[in-house]
């Protein structure tokens, strides 16, 4: 039996290995890694987002908060290429995106990585497949270079995540891992591909306290490495602690934005509760 082993035992190693300085880019300067303008998203009759303006600076940690159904996940699914907005525009590094072509693959190519909420790994598959699926190292005719993938996977597991002595190898299947270990693998995958924007959708759900600290430390290191992050979190204390800016969503609209220090945790909490009450009593 394994202990509730932490996915990231060696914090310093983790960040130095995976979130190195962003390499220089020919594309030059940009202000916003991603910007949404007047984005609407409707599913049948349900309006999940309406007229949302949202942007993330090139080295900014944006905390996205809001109640269940506020539209947080919809918003980040648009950013990560899973959903196409009904209307509005999206720009990456200040360049407008042709939404018709936008996809998860294209987001990956633009170095936007997302750790989605809940299941992000194939349970019956070995870790090496999970780390590379969608971006396999292939030779001619699309055959996978299994040896290389496994070698790099071992390296990620040992160095970036710090799975050591826990009997976890590149061949381990996901269903043999604890919740924290799974989250570690999902985050390590995002880090390995050197994203400029890492989107974390409730990464601390179901994690032990010590594991949560590691996720928060990771978010800070993203900032130090000059990269950006969208951080979705139910726990207001966590997000208040690490975010440069807080964006509050409610029923598909941006209803508040606060720079770091502009609002205290207690104030933020009562603000969120009042939104919730307004919704419960006066909601449409």
């Amino acid at each position: 039996m394994r202990t509730a082993a932490l996915p990231m035992t060696s914090t310093t190693r983790l960040e130095s290995a995976a979130v190195g300085p962003a390499p220089p880019r020919a594309a030059g300067d940009f202000r916003h890694i991603v910007r949404l303008d007047k984005v609407d998203m409707t599913f049948g009759k349900v309006r999940a987002l309406s007229q949302v303006d949202f942007e993330v600076g090139r080295n900014e940690i944006v905390g996205l908060v809001g109640d269940n159904g506020a539209g947080k996940s919809t918003l980040i699914k648009i950013v990560s290429g899973l959903l196409r907005p009904t209307s509005g525009s999206v720009a990456v590094r200040d360049e407008p995106i042709h939404l018709h072509d936008y996809s998860v693959r294209m987001a990956h190519a633009l170095r936007i990585e997302t750790v989605h909420q809940g299941q992000t790994l194939g349970e019956k598959q070995p870790l090496w497949r999970n780390l590379f699926v969608g971006r396999q190292i292939v030779g001619r005719f699309g055959f996978i270079d299994v040896k290389k993938e496994k070698a790099i996977a071992e390296q990620i597991l040992r160095q970036a995540i710090g799975f050591r002595g826990a009997g976890i190898t590149a061949e381990s299947t996901v269903r043999d891992l604890s919740g924290g270990e799974r989250q570690g693998v999902a985050i390590a995958r995002a880090m390995h591909f050197e994203a400029d924007l890492i989107v974390l959708d409730e990464p601390t759900v179901a994690l032990a306290v010590s594991e949560v600290r590691k996720v928060l430390a990771f978010v800070r290191k993203v900032k130090e490495a000059g990269r950006a992050c969208i951080y979705i979190e139910h726990n207001l204390a966590h997000v208040h602690e690490v975010a440069d800016r807080l964006v509050i969503l409610d029923r598909g609209r941006v209803v508040g934005e606060f720079a770091k220090g502009a609002i205290g945790l207690a104030e933020l909490t009562s603000h969120m509760i009042s939104l919730h009450d307004g919704r419960a009593h006066g909601g449409d």
Binding site: T120, E123, V133, F143
Partner: protein, 342 residues
Amino acid sequence: MAVTRSFAARVLRAEGVPIVLVLSLLVAAFMIAAPQVFLGYRIYMAFLASVPPLLVLAAGLTLVIAAGEIDLSFPSIIALSGWVLAYCTHELGSPWIGFALALLAGAVVGYVNGILVAHVGIPSIIATLATQFLWGGLTTVFSQGLSYSLGDIDDASLWHLLVGRIGPVPVQALWALAVAVALWFVLNRHRFGEHLLFIGDNVRVAEVVGVNVAREKVRVFVLMGVLAAFASVLLTLENKTFFNTQGGGYLLEVMAAVFIGGTSVFGGQASVVGTVAGAFIIGMVEAGLVATGLQGFWVRAVVGVVFLAAVIGHLVLDDPERGGDLPRALRARLERVRRSPS
């Protein structure tokens, strides 16, 4: 001790090993029961002639099931493509054109299945059940319910290439082996196969990692269609006859071969090696039982026993704890039955 045990465990966990063991035991049992038949080579050559269509179908279906889908329409592809081959041979005098068009027909049927499943959103068990009726019915219409005898087709180069003999060895066995090897590589070493495994494992995960789920599903149904057509061509050429009901008996046998081989009905986990062994088990039981002097009536019952034994064996290997639960669960159930008053 622990080392030997873990070594044994690792060997048992290697792909298809348990089911290859079952196949070996079956052959050994037949050798003991009917040595005059099973110690000679002829019976094996007969198997190598008759099993290939089943094997090709089962190997293809393994990939479909790996993706969490099912294809029930292949019996009708066996009929349709067989008719296309027979018709072209008869009317145009060209088995080669017939071969090409037969494969094309399989691809079309598979493509329609893929569109219905991936783009229209009909569950594959329903969509392919419907197309099974459709194409089977159309084949009856096209053929006017007639059979074709292709008595002199063994003059054709196609016949020699696909189902001829090299010495005593039926060539179709080599084709089936080539298909199985190719599909093993596709499933285990190719991007496409990995995508199928993730789609079958959890389609939401496949989407978020950037797999084009709809496209890969269409592809796997097209692949299955082409393989079913190829199996049909092997069958029709070997029999030198086309029946418009050919393929009818294959549905359950092919599915049995896949599941005996240890492929998960839930998708995400599949074994081509297991399927090959499963196809031979299914294909050998009948001839084996007849040779041992048991009546042919026993065939299906014995297949059932082997099937259950194989599936339970896979379950135990896959999850030893659950395997341990099995006797316990049976005992508990027996206890309950004994205690219930009526």
